[in-house]
């Protein structure tokens, strides 16, 4: 039985197939018309079409042989300075044959490059502009050094709207002959928040159960995919059992590989759903926001989230004393 992840099967090939980011797509199409592109930064949250847009742009520029003119590197896997020195340089300096005189280098998760590697990249970008254009993809453009930012055209991607999200999923549902209730779409959007990769993965996993997808199916799939039993962890922390809560956190991260950003998102939702006094929800939102920010800057997700748990323990203690 042949198999493919639907995220790949239904990844748009051409800019014309992209449903979202309309303004960005229009600008990219004008690049295709002019047969020229500047260096670009595609910044924005995961699952919003950054990589897809870059691939589509290349496809529209070069046609079916686009793979020959394109190199895709993921900075998270190869973020050392040597990769930039060797791989990138070797690729960038050789002139492309064909109508379009430059090649495209896609550097995914570029915000994970060390600043030394970024400095090296900056020089490479400058020297080989004639023969190679760079598309840097990042969740946070702020983590890209200034000199690179100033040499690139910035594009900010945002989460998909509910309409675009539903439209795309409906398209897949139809092609794959999946039975899906309307509430299924709502549930997926509710948990994935416009991250289309996550939405499609959730859809595929839910469909593999082989029955009509309703909200409950969606939630159970999400629960199994990222067993972030955040609620229990919060309860432990608020009850004063910080060590127990930290243990749960550790399991989520190390055993199940749940992303720290998912955990904090979940905590944020749970706090507002909880029966805590209203003022406390706002107070805690401030703490969560601060830790979310540090999560991006810091080195160790467990440490950052533990600091949040300690604040929850403290809050639980003050509440008990009638604060």
């Amino acid at each position: 039985m042949s198999f493919e992840m639907w995220t790949e099967k239904y990844r748009p090939k051409s800019l014309n197939e992209m449903v979202n980011q309309k303004e960005i797509v229009e600008r990219l199409k004008s690049f295709v018309e002019a047969k020229n592109i500047p260096h670009c930064i595609f910044a924005g949250p995961p699952g919003t079409g950054k990589t897809t847009a870059a691939l589509c742009l290349a496809y529209d520029l070069y046609g079916g042989v686009y793979r020959e003119h394109l190199m895709e590197l993921n900075a998270s896997d190869e973020r050392g300075i040597n990769v930039v020195r060797e791989t990138v340089k070797t690729f960038a300096r050789i002139r492309s044959i064909g109508e379009i005189p430059f090649k495209i280098m896609i550097l995914d998760e570029a915000d994970n490059m060390t600043s030394d590697a970024q400095q090296a990249l900056r020089r490479t970008m400058e020297r080989f502009t004639e023969t190679c254009r760079f598309i840097l993809i990042a969740n946070y453009s702020g983590k890209i050094i200034e000199p690179i930012q100033s040499r690139c055209a910035p594009f900010r991607f945002s989460y998909l709207s509910k309409e675009d999200h539903d439209a795309y999923l409906r398209h897949i549902v139809q092609k794959e002959n999946v039975k899906m209730h309307d509430e299924g779409f709502d549930a997926i959007f509710d948990v994935c928040g416009g991250d289309l990769r996550k939405a499609i993965n959730t859809l595929q996993a839910a469909a593999s159960l082989g029955r009509a997808i309703d909200a409950e199916t969606v939630y159970s799939v999400i629960g199994r995919a990222s067993p972030a039993d955040v609620q229990e962890m919060i309860t432990l922390a608020m009850k004063g059992d910080f060590i127990g809560a930290r243990q749960r956190l550790r399991e989520m991260i190390l055993k199940y590989g749940v992303a720290g950003s998912d955990i904090i998102k979940q905590i944020h939702i749970e706090i507002f759903r909880s029966g805590l006094p209203e003022q406390w929800k706002v107070k805690l939102a401030d703490v969560i926001g601060e830790i979310d920010f540090r999560l991006v800057q810091g080195a160790d997700e467990e440490v950052q989230l533990s600091a949040l748990l300690a604040r929850l323990t403290e809050a639980g203690y003050e509440l008990k004393r009638g604060g």
Binding site: S76, N112, S115, L254
Partner: protein
């Protein structure tokens, strides 16, 4: 609930006390001789190195003979006046409730300095008139300060128990905690402790708490250059110092990897700082330290390391405001490091599959593990027949397929 194993597994009866059979017998006979009238020596002076069972022996004896034990320690006899306060107790053998009384003056070494000379003299006075057995405990009975006092005491020396005796006790503790410990591991802990039972039990707790098995590998890391002492001393300074500079300097003297030290502090903070406010402050300091670690990682600017150190040492030290002192809490080995090594094979496997996914899904291997792999696992759980197709699409090898197909239960 958390308890120090030295307390939890303290011998309750004399037969459980580790070693020193001779000394214990001599001591028991002397206490029993009081029943036939006041003996020539009205006090016994138990002395010997730390952690060999002097105090524990006295407590166990009082327990066995059902005597009322009145325990005093250094803080109770700073001055002669303080000592006079319990002089009254010493004047009677029988208690109000018909039992017998035993007075224990622990930590006599703590009676130091010129002011305390009066203290030693006051103790001597009480002994001269004592109507019930008084037991003094100290590391060194031959300190010149005790020269007069010694004359009124029956001297009983406690020696270090043998390695076998200490190991026997550790085995008993392990049995009580449900831990299956390798002989080699216990022997190692015993020898390293210098046959100090208290210290050996503390080490055992630090290394084995929460585990089912204690292997030699789990303790062998202590061997490197006296790591344990170095780390424990640094931790003690960081968790108890009230002085930023002192806390910061502790790291310089330690000469250990800041990342490793960070793990130790991070692991132990909630055990050492039990007040929620203090803990939140300490964890916040560690969070900030980690932010600087992240900045070092992205900028490769190692001069930022000093801020990491500031927060993880001084920041944590300054967090202690409200936590009440609760005696000696042993330090624990960072569980996360053990966990990481235990789960390494599995994480490697997941990452290897992540590398395969990456080639198909335009996503880094790390994110593939977190964002794609879980869904693939669900699909396989629901449709086991899909494994072959997935394996082909991703170009997985046999071990990876086994992991995906069979790993569902453990996960």
């Amino acid at each position: 609930m958390y308890a120090a194993w030295t307390v939890k597994h303290k011998p309750q009866t004399l037969s459980d006390v580790v070693g020193n059979a001779e000394a214990i017998q001599k001591f028991t006979e002397w206490v029993k001789s009081w029943n036939k009238g006041v003996p020539k020596k009205r006090a016994a002076f138990l002395y010997g190195p730390p952690g060999v069972g002097k105090t524990v022996g006295v407590e166990a004896l009082a327990n066995d003979l059902k005597m009322e034990l009145v325990e005093k320690n250094a803080s109770d006899y700073r001055t002669a006046e303080a000592i006079q306060r319990f002089a009254g107790l010493a004047s009677q053998y029988d208690t109000l409730f018909g039992g017998r009384r035993l007075i224990l003056l622990d930590e006599m070494d703590g009676v130091t300095g010129t002011e305390d000379r009066g203290g030693v003299a006051a103790v001597t006075d009480i002994i001269k008139r004592a109507q019930c057995p008084i037991v003094l405990v100290a590391n060194n009975a031959y300190d010149p300060r005790f020269s007069t006092l010694r004359g009124y005491c029956l001297l009983i020396e406690f020696k270090k128990p043998t390695v076998r005796e200490v190991m026997k006790h550790l085995r008993k503790v392990c049995a009580g905690e449900g831990i299956d410990a390798e002989e080699e591991a216990l022997k190692f802990i015993t020898e390293r402790s210098g046959r100090d039972v208290r210290s050996a039990v503390n080490d055992l707790q630090a290394l084995a708490q929460g585990k089912k098995r204690l292997a030699y590998e789990d303790v062998a890391w202590l061997a490197q250059r006296d790591r344990k002492d170095v780390i424990f001393n640094v931790l003690r300074t960081i968790f108890y110092s009230k002085d930023c500079w002192e806390a910061k300097r502790a790291v310089d003297t330690a000469d250990m990897d800041p990342d490793m030290l960070f793990q130790w502090i991070y692991e132990n903070a909630p055990y050492q700082l039990t007040d929620p406010h203090d803990l939140a402050k300490a964890m916040d300091a560690l969070s900030l330290a980690d932010v600087y670690r992240g900045r070092i990682r992205t900028t490769q600017d190692w001069s930022l390391l000093r801020y990491v150190l500031d927060f993880m040492t001084a920041g944590v030290a300054m967090a202690r405001e409200r936590t009440k002192p609760s005696g000696w809490i042993p330090f624990r080995f960072p569980e996360r490091i053990q966990w990481l090594s235990r789960t390494k094979a599995e994480r490697d496997m997941r990452l290897a599959i992540g590398m395969k996914i990456r080639r198909k899904c335009h996503i880094s291997s790390v994110r593939a593990v977190k964002e794609v792999l879980p869904y693939i696992k669900i699909i396989i759980e629901n449709n086991p027949e899909m494994v072959a197709g997935i394996a082909k699409w991703l170009d997985l090898d046999e071990t990876m397929v086994d992991y995906l197909a069979g790993g569902k239960k453990q996960m």
